[in-house]
Symmetry: C2
Amino acid sequence: MKQRVTISLDAMGGDYGAGIVVPAAVSALHRFDDIELILVGDEKVIAAQLARARERAGGRLRVHHASETVAMDEPPAQTLRLKKDSSMRVAINLVQSGVAQACVSAGNTGALMATARFVLKTLAGIDRPAIITGIPSLKGHTHVLDLGANVNCKAQHLFQFAVMGSVLASAVDELENPRVGLLNVGQEAIKGNDQVKEADRLLKHSLLNYVGYVEGDAIYCGDVDVVVCDGFVGNISLKASEGVAKMASQLVRKEFGRNLITRLSGLAAIPVLRAFGNRIDPRRYNGASLVGLQGIVIKSHGGADAFSFEHAIQIARIEARKSVPQRIDKQLERLLT
Amino acid sequence: MKQRVTISLDAMGGDYGAGIVVPAAVSALHRFDDIELILVGDEKVIAAQLARARERAGGRLRVHHASETVAMDEPPAQTLRLKKDSSMRVAINLVQSGVAQACVSAGNTGALMATARFVLKTLAGIDRPAIITGIPSLKGHTHVLDLGANVNCKAQHLFQFAVMGSVLASAVDELENPRVGLLNVGQEAIKGNDQVKEADRLLKHSLLNYVGYVEGDAIYCGDVDVVVCDGFVGNISLKASEGVAKMASQLVRKEFGRNLITRLSGLAAIPVLRAFGNRIDPRRYNGASLVGLQGIVIKSHGGADAFSFEHAIQIARIEARKSVPQRIDKQLERLLT
């Protein structure tokens, strides 16, 4: 029998709370026989959702009561100080105490990062955890970090992101020596802001497989495995990309709806457009890792549906099975020279 | 008769030089009867291209000889010091001396910005010119600046960009009071880096129609007319967006090519996909303005074809007809308070 991993789920987080977390958990348990899940939150609310799903706790599914909930717009400092029994905090506590090997929350990103950092602590040598996710590319996916945890970054932070991204990509995708690119406005050495130029210098002298500067489209070309940037640029680029994709799909729909002939050709094209849509469906990429912590914390999109949240559970499962934080910790001493 | 505007064209700039600039000029002259064009560059090379196009100088088309060419990878400082008779420099000189009301170049962005700034000077109250362009959105287009001229920006620079973007959008699109958004990682006031927070404060106290923070997808939603950001973020977001669009079109083509049935449905969908492609064709949006100068300088994409370059000429024509720099100058005193 494969060794099981236990994942704690913040059942109250996100825009829909237990209404999507519980069905996602039930579905994930059916799909993966090597996981155990702990639903953390208001036990009455969770029980009601389990009843709706005609499931009950027991076996690989447990419920852990937590009396409080973190609001989506709550300031992180307030959460930390006042919500010691929140579903988010307790889910992370379960990772800290070793009961769970990973946790997933769709809650407020700022509060999740602050709580995870406070409870789990960063790895030795890491100043700031980052948010990393795999983004679909022409050749598979590209790991991009930071996606919004750190809006003001110095060169050494970018360097640490590169180290963490490289180790995570190598563990998750089983790559020998992931290619790492540094996001910049141009590949010419004269371009770039001060932090990026200094980070470039640090990376050139590192043991990483550093390929140099890459431009924004590198995220989607698939020629590098890891793209490093500060959280301000990363978050905005990702949102801009989502905006383009949304615009494209709306325009295509509008063009197909123009008249009877275009509507008929649209019908014929449905299977193809659907296959394409599946390839770039953001729900299939839901689940970003808070990397650089002494434990695995996966952030699901706040508006995720059950299908998306299940994908975030799947990411937690993979990272737990591959012991990502331990691997990063092991590599840090070698790479942070 | 409408008043004519004269536009000088750097005929040697870009990846293809006169080979695309001359045919673009010929086509633009046929299309617009209110413009005069001056082709600036090596007169022999230009004459050869005119002969190919079965055209000759005369009437609304003139040739102005310039003995040097700026290379695409030339450092701007070197261009400024050594290339005083370059096609780029002379085209800008013609604007400075009032012979032309605007110029267009597909040359090296850094050299073009440095030369334009040196020859034309910035408007009073503007520290740094910015690069602005209209990007297609769901509802038309959004003016975004800065797109790469300034990679390290302070709050007051972002504020000046907002003023310039607002005046340009109001002139070009004839908008009463353009809606201006500031690009940030989230709409919550607690987020954002230091410069952005400070710029937000300045904008809130200004006379602009400032709507507050917007996220990356705002560029494509069409809910604001102007999006302000530093050149590092702007350039990377734009390139990332281009990357997504390219990936989407490649994936759609691949899905349609999968088998005989998908290929047939692809044939049926061709007119629709073509109409869609036209809507987002980057060639129809070629031509970015170097805004904040005492004269109009339009940067065409270095790899632009004749169709794209002609679009850049069209932008020069509109800005010249609307006297954009004069309008910005007039508004600056009122808005920079």
